[in-house]
């Protein structure tokens, strides 16, 4: 499995999702300021937290060369809303992300498929300058097919 294929599949799903999933997104190495400075809110910011790449027992790693065919990873989708506007709107967006990426959801991509490993975890919101951030942590497991 290729990490780029996994991430692009997740990205495509998030971008195609209807409201109340946020319409504006910030990705690693892509500035959210393309929507204005400061960026229009609400928007969602994706951070890849970890990706543990492994060989499965059926297709083990060998001295001749590792065949990576499994990736267990997690990422954060932070809802960035206006500070002082209450938490209801931000939580609506967070709930929509959690509903979209429900536990067990299968997403196919070139060369494999991933499954959302557990129910996304909506963490407590916190202030960040003029923003209010609500992180949603999503865990997945991907395998080569």
């Amino acid at each position: 499995v290729k990490t780029v294929d996994i991430r692009n599949a997740i990205k495509a799903l998030l971008l195609a999702a209807p409201a109340p999933v946020p319409a504006r997104w910030s990705w690693p190495n892509v500035e959210p300021t393309s929507d204005g400075n400061p960026p229009l809110r609400p928007y969602a910011e994706v951070t890849w937290i970890s990706a543990d790449r492994q060989a499965t027992p059926e297709r083990p790693e060998t001295l001749k060369g590792n065949e990576i065919n499994r990736e267990v990873g997690q990422f954060s989708v932070a809802i960035v809303a206006e500070r002082g506007a209450g938490e209801t709107a931000a939580l609506d967006h967070a709930d929509a992300i959690a509903a979209l990426l429900f536990a067990g959801r299968r997403i196919t991509f070139t060369g494999g498929a991933l499954r959302i490993a557990k129910r996304p975890d909506i963490r407590p919101g916190f202030p960040d300058g003029p923003d209010w951030r609500v992180p949603v942590i999503v865990r997945y497991a991907a395998v080569a097919t």
């Binding site: 937290i49 970890s50 963490r123």
Partner: protein, 145 residues
Amino acid sequence: MTTYTAATLPEWAAKIEAILDAVTAQATAEMLADIKVTPGINRGGGRQHGTVPRDLGALARSLQSTLYGSTSLNQEGVGSHVLVAGAMKAGDTARFSWGGAVAPYAAAVHYGARGVPGTFWIDVAAAKWPGYVAHAVDRAKAALR
């Protein structure tokens, strides 16, 4: 190889309980010990993914370790996890948290804010949990031989 019979069942049960306790305590202790503190919230270094960044140490010192279960224990400080993890028994619940009044910026540093990526030390450590348990089980198995 030790052989157990019905007559030695209480002895066998006590040994299994001790093994479960050891696996719980060791896996927890290793996970917390592996969370490194590295220089650089705002100065003297860069933020390293999976670590607790420090300038003056308030965030690292804000660790609160609490054990609910066979023993009730509450400790604060960088090394507060040592006593709590060491006192854990199988089935106990322990809570480890950073932040509070000592470091109210903990969430911003962990999840990222103001354009600075988070270091996600809690989620990175949690993702490695199965590995810590497997290692603790291996050590318990070795002790049994």
